[in-house]
């Protein structure tokens, strides 16, 4: 519980603080990295879990992403966005890469089968730690049209390409592209992302 509260508090750490941490990490400061890890790991691991599903693989990808953040800390520039966005962008890309290469290398059946026997270890803490954030995102997702929402969710959490989304929703590709963009724009406005 203590861990949970601490993390909640650090989730709300101002972006400028994490940017400062990142600057220190770029100079090789391992203690700063440890603090940054605490701020980032819950969201990154959660997002990766949603996409990859398999717990063991999700843990692997999360560790890779963390090490990559350490490695490439000097390439972060605050003008291009928050540290969380920098890290989440990397995490999403890696998770999607993992899912697609698994898909390419073969039997989806098998992967799906393995996913379903995954350890069900964190349903409860998921609800506690991020309820507010979740509720806001859920509320804003609800303002999208059904097609926008389905497209965005399949692409972001499902790791699908827009081509796959088009096939799954039996919708022309041009329409899917537009819906993804319009959906995100509507989400942006609802969430108040500057």
């Amino acid at each position: 519980m203590g861990e949970r509260i601490r993390r909640l508090r650090e989730d709300t750490t101002a972006a400028s603080d994490t940017a400062e941490l990142m600057r220190r990490v770029a100079r090789g400061d391992e203690a700063a990295f440890e603090r940054l890890y605490d701020v980032l790991v819950g969201p990154l691991f959660g997002a990766i879990r949603r996409i990859v599903r398999d717990p063991a693989q999700s843990e692997e990808v999360t560790q890779e992403v963390m090490v990559e953040l350490w490695r490439s800390a000097a390439r972060y520039s605050p003008e291009r966005g928050s540290v969380m966005t920098f890290a989440m962008t990397l995490a999403h890309r890696r998770a999607v890469d993992r899912v697609r290469s698994a898909q390419a290398s073969a039997d989806r059946e098998d992967t799906v089968g393995r996913r379903e026997v995954g350890r069900p270890f964190d349903e409860v803490s998921e609800q506690v730690a991020t309820r507010l954030e979740q509720e806001q995102v859920r509320r804003c997702l609800a303002t999208l049209t059904e097609l926008q929402r389905e497209s965005v969710v399949l692409a972001y959490y499902g790791g699908r390409t827009y081509r796959e989304v088009g096939e799954l929703l039996e919708t022309p590709l041009g329409t899917i592209k537009t819906r993804l963009r319009d959906g995100l724009i509507r989400l942006r406005d609802c969430l108040g992302v500057a």
């Binding site: 993390r7 090789g28 391992e30 440890e34 890890y37 605490d38 790991v41 819950g42 969201p43 691991f45 959660g46 997002a47 879990r49 949603r50 843990e59 999360t62 560790q63 963390m66 090490v67 490695r71 490439s72 800390a73 000097a74 291009r80 966005g81 928050s82 969380m84 966005t85 989440m88 962008t89 995490a91 999403h92 890309r93 390419a104 290398s105 270890f121 998921e126 730690a129 991020t130 954030e133 979740q134 806001q136 995102v137 965005v152 692409a155 972001y156 959490y157 790791g159 699908r160 390409t161 989304v165 899917i176 537009t178 993804l180 963009r181 995100l184 724009i185 989400l187 942006r188 992302v193």
Partner: protein
């Protein structure tokens, strides 16, 4: 500004594009301030979808990561230009001539997979034979880039036979008004021909690789160019 490319902003931010489309889009971003602004905002938005999924992580993971970073050297500050090259090399699988023979079976399977649909049996056989005959060369090299969901390209080459074949799978059509063009790169850059995927698949046989050090693929105006006019989207090292 190309409206068609621009419409990809959402898909790009959600990583819902193929690797080739990503490269194209990032090139477009370089010339489009408004797009960069939109991408930044939509990225921040997509990140909220990620943070909303936060869960607790197993504590051992932190110990493991802290132990690993103490052994990882950090990169110097730099522009992001290296990222895509690193990405490509991660996928590059170079096969030494000795290993090529061992991989023959695998490759034959791959070859058959690459050619499975909508092709006459004769075509498929000719292709298989072509690949097999290059593989029989003592110095065959096989390099794969990408994957079948976002566009994969296999280069099979032999210096002894002075030829190579490029086979694609799942390669998206080149953007409207353009073609993929292959080049042999070395002391001089020479066109090796156009690659026109049909339903993602294409085969390009090239005789005369000469002293080329690399094979590169670019996107060129339809019909191809005399010399490359854009950056390569894929490169294959030639030993």
């Amino acid at each position: 500004m190309n409206a068609d490319v621009h419409a990809l902003t959402g898909a790009y931010v959600l990583d819902a594009v193929s690797d080739l489309e990503r490269v194209e889009f990032e090139r477009h971003l370089g010339d489009c301030d408004a797009c960069r602004q939109e991408v930044a905002e939509l990225r921040e938005t997509a990140t909220r979808l990620g943070t909303a999924a936060a869960v607790e992580s197993p504590p051992w993971m932190k110990t493991a990561v802290m132990a690993r970073i103490s052994q990882v050297r950090q990169l110097p500050p730099d522009a992001g230009a290296l990222a895509s090259r690193r990405r490509a090399s991660r996928w590059a699988l170079r096969v030494s001539s000795a290993a090529a023979a061992v991989l023959l079976v695998t490759t034959t399977v791959l070859g058959v997979q690459l050619m499975r649909t909508e092709q006459s049996v004769e075509d498929a056989q000719a292709q298989t034979e072509l690949m097999a005959s290059i593989l029989r060369a003592g110095d065959a090299q096989l390099v794969t880039q990408g994957d079948s969901s976002s566009g994969r390209m296999v280069m099979l080459a032999s210096r002894a036979q002075d030829r190579m074949v490029l086979v694609t799978d799942g390669l998206p059509a080149a953007p409207a008004g353009s073609d993929y063009q292959a080049w042999t790169l070395g002391d001089e850059t020479r066109s090796a021909g156009l690659i026109k995927p049909e339903d993602g698949r294409a085969t390009l046989e090239v005789s005369g690789i000469d002293t080329a050090q690399q094979v590169g693929i670019t996107v060129e105006p339809a019909g191809g160019s005399d010399q490359p006019t854009t950056q390569t989207i894929m490169q294959f090292p030639l030993v």
